[in-house]
Symmetry: C2
Subunit: 384 residues, 2 copies
């Protein structure tokens, strides 16, 4: 879907960026100003401003949820969910998707210019949290004239933002969809992220984060970080089905053969190397550090005296929680924790575990059941 | 256990090393000569040479199975299994443990001197396989005058060697104990290893493997590789129990606090960093490349026209297969595959899945059930 209703209001449309003065007070205590937010909108805000849906992206996602990515040329990362006739539909909804704080696609992050120094923040950018990302999104909604969200929807880190929204702005959210996500980062989640961070910081080109001036970026470290993370996005069964122990085809051996060397003999090696190499062309290593840190700090209960249920005490939002049976990064048990807390808080919550061979990545892939669940949940709210 | 019966035969005892002329023909077709093997023996070979047990070590293990490690000062890696009154007992058994081919504790590997060049092989060392490791161990047993093994026992990669032994030398093995292991490396196993290899090779100090001359080793890359691998050795539940989201104690905050920076705030981060840093002091990065490659190439069925059962057709060995319920690196399903093949081949096989919170690492930790299983299996064979 590339067409957007013509609007004379320059706030609306594709590839928008806005500089807001804020100031945004962060969880760390630091103050961020200005706050740049890059975003896209699809569809039209209706007269009573009641049809807004905020979509939240994952760790390495961006605002291009349903339009072509400017760097990769690929379709939007959630084109299966967002578009005409799809659950999130620009003919019915006013859709907003913003690049998260700390990222590198136009919102304020380590690559942004620090106005006090007139050079990139790099590692002088303040450490941010999932809550900070949500507050920045709220600033954007203020700017767009959206007081209240019909829904906030996200998968993975997007689900963390979606779940956090009603805890910070209980009156601004009517419904929340949390997919393949969790209410807190586990020790294993933190451990994998720490491997990625150490891989980046071990790259001599990282130079304490000050690599912007000459553009000689720590791509080797970032590629390794991406490779390690990528394994956690896939299921063991999915990897076996997709690659197994199949060898790379070679000019002299179409079926492949072991080289008894260190080239990528196995298809899964070649695939992973490709994932690492292509990632570094579209993502900033410092942003990877900041966003993984925000995810590791994430624990909604921790911010509410240890009670997850208490976090939802003030909201009347409806919740839809979805997990995938082969997701071992944020397994179904993590979704159950959310649902139990929602039940304890008296919130209206539906929960479904979907079957998929694709592990954590399932929420981004062909998943008709997921579309049906989200569509049904949104329409139920719209009929009231 | 530090005492070994005095022997006038210098082949027997602690901290042995032998240079065998071989030549050893490798699976790659390359010929290795000489073949250095570093090993230890415990106990005494009885008169009819019938009490020999070969212990096989894991990826980063070594010959110091039950004696103090010369670099770390720690007790032998399997002191819980090997010693007076333990299942593998030097008062009853003649115990052999050799550093695997490709490793770095005295056996031939990339750090060894290439006699044709009079400098370390580095990446000119031939790529080896699990089968090659087994054949090198057989050369050592020839040297020690051991024709036949009462048992070959190993966990993880040690289990791969143990399982391979009767497939290559069906007459030389009476019984085999395979713990927390597999008959072939899966796509996910290969993927994790590939991340580690890429981390090492991305380190500019690696220099194509030629770092021995100045000793400026790729420790940053190797540490990242170790960190990534280490996560796979532990269970999610074990990590949660051991660390959860607990923060590092700090001088001004005994309970820890978030620093809103990139220090190791969480205990699990600090633990992982320590694992990486301590590992590089005892292990060679090139050896890590070679041994992970050997493991990835490992697929016993592949070497027997795709039939795992056929691999065991010629042996009369008894088998004991043990898995741990929380081991997600080589999960119980992989052990079942082995047992089904053994059953199909008519081999005598017992199988047990043990409960443990410790994941793959369980075989190295306090596991009284494991000791009982191994002890019972060995004694049953000795009573016949």
């Amino acid at each position: 879907m590339a067409t957007v209703p013509a609007s004379s209001d320059s706030r609306f449309g594709l590839a928008r960026q806005v500089r807001l003065s804020g100031p945004l007070r962060l969880d760390s205590g630091a103050i961020l100003t200005p706050v740049d937010i890059a975003y896209e909108t699809y569809g039209t805000l209706n007269v009573d401003r009641s049809n807004a849906i905020l979509l939240c992206h994952a760790l390495t996602g961006d605002q291009y949820v349903a339009s072509q990515h400017p760097l990769t040329g690929k379709p939007g990362w959630w084109w299966r969910m967002v578009g005409e006739g799809k659950p999130v539909d620009p003919s019915r909804h006013f859709i907003v998707c913003a690049n998260v704080l700390g990222s590198c696609m136009g919102s304020s992050g380590p690559a942004s210019v620090d106005p006090t120094r007139d050079e990139p923040y790099a590692m002088r950018f303040p450490v941010i949290t999932i809550g900070d990302m949500v507050r920045a999104q709220a600033l954007l909604l203020d700017h767009l004239g959206v007081d209240r969200l019909r829904a906030v929807i996200g998968g993975s880190m997007g689900g963390m933002q979606a779940l956090t929204w009603p805890t910070i702005f209980p009156e601004r959210v009517e419904s929340t969809v949390v997919i393949a996500s969790t209410a807190r980062h586990s020790a294993q989640n933190i451990a994998f992220h720490e491997v990625g961070r150490q891989a980046i910081m071990a790259d001599p080109r990282w130079r304490g984060g000050d690599y912007y001036a000459d553009g000689d970026v720590p791509s080797a470290g970032l590629a390794v970080a991406r490779m390690a993370a990528h394994i956690t996005y896939l299921s063991e069964a999915g990897l076996t089905e997709k690659f197994g122990r199949r060898l790379q085809a070679r000019p002299d051996s179409p079926g492949g053969q072991k080289t008894f060397g260190f080239d990528a003999d196995f298809q899964v090696e070649s695939y992973l190397r490709h994932q690492g190499l292509s990632f570094v062309e579209r993502f900033d290593a410092n942003s990877y550090l900041y966003i993984t840190r925000a995810m590791d700090y994430y624990d909604i209960a921790e911010d509410h005296e240890g009670s997850l249920a208490r976090a939802f005490a003030k909201t009347k939002a409806r919740f839809c929680v979805v997990s995938f049976d082969t997701d071992w990064l944020y397994p179904t048990a993590e979704s159950r924790v959310i649902v139990h807390a929602l039940n304890a808080s008296g919130a209206q919550a539906s929960f479904v575990e979907l079957a998929s061979p694709f592990g954590h990545d399932a929420f981004l892939l062909e998943a008709p059941e997921l579309n049906r669940v989200v569509d049904g949940f949104l329409r139920a709210g719209e009929q009231r």
